[in-house]
């Protein structure tokens, strides 16, 4: 798979995790493309942490980039039934467990469900933005990312980069498979049929428990 195919493969799988009616916050990058991949009959409400509920793409008429942008600074608007609010209210929703799912990328994830995605010391200092609150507060945290970075595993025994939060990730979706974070460790529950479980483990530092019900990823 090339980069673009990998992305859409991951996103299509992630989209299936969303249930009709879910309130969802989508991280910058890949996750923002999820709405295009939702199964028929599934409608979700998208929150943006800068103070919008019910985010939808803007039309020519609703394009209003000075007043209405999402958390990635993309001009958007809200659907009828959506609303705008301030940042305290927004993070009250997030921290208070009122967001059903957040989907976001990561630099590293480990077998305890800890995640690093906000800083590479000495190299990149983007800042954590709302990520630390989102992974701590959302009811379900799904990480979507490529399985490796330049051939190096990103799913580790222990994150090495500064953490975004500890023990918060529920599910990891990569182009190789779907891994659930459980008390026993990472369970490989679905696999891309192009790979064997051994190949997935070979690209993973953390020990994977292959589910007895391992299914093809789809």
């Amino acid at each position: 798979m090339d980069k673009e195919n990998i992305k859409s493969y991951i996103i299509a799988r992630a989209a299936k995790e969303l249930k009709d009616g879910d309130i969802v916050n989508l991280g910058i990058g890949m996750p923002t493309m999820i709405p295009n991949y939702l199964p028929e009959g599934v409608e979700v409400t998208i929150q943006a942490e800068n103070g919008l509920m019910g985010v939808v793409p803007c039309t020519k008429e609703s394009y209003d980039p000075v007043y209405k942008v999402d958390a990635g600074a993309t001009p958007v608007t809200v659907a009828p039934g959506g609303c705008y609010f301030d940042s305290c209210t927004s993070f009250g929703m997030i921290r208070g467990g009122h967001i059903d799912v957040t989907v976001l990328g990561a630099l590293e994830v480990d077998e305890k469900g800890s995640i690093s995605n906000w800083i590479i010391p000495g190299k990149k200092l983007p800042g954590m933005g709302g990520a630390m609150d989102l992974v701590v507060g959302a009811k379900r945290v799904i990480v979507t990312m490529e399985h490796t970075q330049k051939g190096e595993p990103k799913i580790l025994k222990n994150c090495r980069l500064p953490l975004t939060a500890i023990n918060c990730v529920d599910l990891i979706i990569t182009e190789m498979g779907v891994m659930e974070v459980t008390d026993a460790g990472l369970v490989l529950s679905e696999i891309n049929p192009e790979f064997t479980p051994e190949q997935v483990q070979g690209a993973t530092e953390a020990t994977l428990i292959v589910s007895p019900n391992l299914k093809p990823m789809a």
Binding site: A48, E49, N50, G51, L52, D64, P65, V66, Y67, K68, V69, D70, A71, A73, P75, Y84, F85, D86, S87, C88, S90, F91, I94, R95, S114, K124, L125, P126, G127, M128, G129, G130, A131, M132, D133, V136, G137, P162, L163, T164, A165, I166, N167
Partner: protein, 231 residues
């Protein structure tokens, strides 16, 4: 009742070295005309408390958007923010050693400002537990365990000035924010000694329905008529 002042008067009252909260998220909700005037003032050494450094290019073709102007003109010596990745000049000035940057989780940042304005002793949040945020001595009072869960006690944030943008501002200073511009302005208006609101539209008292007032005029010290002020 707030005083209505010009852009020049607004800039004049902000001294070198002031701590300044600026509402906005990636430029959206920055008080653009006040910031623009301040960026041309030659003043500096500011402590800028703002979610981010905005970005170089603005949606209306601005070369530098919002607070990015202050950063580009090297007027900020200390930035307290949550995300600065989209303005590369922040990283450059930080690496040069000419700007200090403190990064705080966004939800904590918002709530710390609210705490500053609402007379609370701090904010107990689970966010940041187990991360290097725990070690931010300037912002974290302590790590506390409450009913079996760990929390960081984040300190309140206050400032000398808050610079806010309102879409409609009435003669009594009441503010109505349009779209996603409300973000941090709402909390900042409560947490600064002097609050200056840039009004996109000045309206008569009562024109904003009393229920729909978002920031009460009692928080507002000065209003700059952004519409008239710069044509």
């Amino acid at each position: 009742m707030p005083k209505f002042i010009t852009l020049a008067e607004a800039v004049e009252m902000i001294p070198d070295g002031a701590s300044i909260m600026v509402g906005g998220f990636m430029g959206c909700g920055n008080p653009h005309k006040v910031i623009d005037a301040l960026s041309k003032s030659g003043k500096g050494n500011f402590k800028l408390i703002c979610n981010d450094g905005a970005q170089p290019g603005g949606p209306m073709g601005e070369e530098y958007y919002g607070v990015a102007k202050l950063i580009h003109n090297r007027q900020v010596k200390h930035m307290v923010a949550t995300h600065v990745g989209l303005n590369p000049e922040v990283g450059l000035q930080m690496n040069e050693g000419s700007m200090r940057v403190d990064l705080i989780p966004q939800g904590s940042f918002a709530e710390m400002i609210r705490a500053g304005g609402a007379g609370l002793g701090g904010v107990l949040t689970p966010t940041g537990v187990g991360t290097i945020v725990e070690d931010y001595r300037d912002y974290v009072h302590s790590v506390q365990e409450i009913d079996g869960r760990k929390y960081l006690l984040m300190k309140p944030l206050k400032a000398d000035f808050a610079l806010i943008s309102g879409y409609k501002v009435d003669k009594a200073g009441n503010v109505w924010y349009k779209g996603s511009t409300r973000n941090f302005g709402w909390a900042m208006a409560t947490a600064a000694k002097t609050v200056i609101v840039e009004a996109d539209n000045v309206v008569e008292a009562g024109e904003i329905e009393p229920e729909n007032v978002m920031t009460s005029g009692i928080f507002v010290d000065y209003v700059v008529d952004g519409g008239k002020a710069n044509g």
